[in-house]
Amino acid sequence: MSVPFLYALVGIGLFCLGLHALIVHDHLLRKILAINVMGSGVFLVLVALARRGGDTPPDPVPHAMVITGIVVAVSATALALGLMLKVKEATGKNELPDRDRD
């Protein structure tokens, strides 16, 4: 297995780890961490697949997309953290209220 495919598989693994943690945990900060890990996994797949050219330099368009993606991810994280703090202020709990808990 060559280098790009190794990193692409690591990226898929990160995405699935993040997805599992997003669904399983209730604490909002853990959900935000999980979403960031999922985003990092997707970026890893994109940049890894851009390096499949062999001897030619890597494809710069996915690099630009991932740089854009990193900046958008940090803005979304900042907004999500603000929302989490307001939920804590409004309800006093760190989790979202559920209607039918088991």
Partner: protein, 81 residues
């Protein structure tokens, strides 16, 4: 591709997966945020290995540094009110 390079890539990939799992499964939130910052720095190394230096600079500064600062500040405000 030489054996040393392959071993480095395999270790880096394994380190990324391990750090992400520990960061998401750690019971203490402060430790989880610190592990997430370390994960971001290892990810910057992976970008360098994939010949993407611009992405590595952006990830180290924004992904690891600023996200870590945002998470720590939010964790502090979550704890005291």
């Amino acid at each position: 591709m030489t054996l040393l390079a392959w071993a480095f890539d395999a270790l880096l990939g394994l380190g990324l997966l391990l750090l992400a799992w520990r960061a998401l499964a750690c019971p203490d939130l402060f430790k989880a945020v610190v592990l997430f910052v370390a994960f971001g720095l290892l990810l910057a190394l992976a970008w360098v290995r994939l010949e993407a230096p611009d992405v590595a600079l952006a990830e180290a500064a924004i992904g690891a540094g600023l996200t870590g600062a945002l998470l720590m500040a939010a964790l502090a405000r979550l704890g005291d009110d």
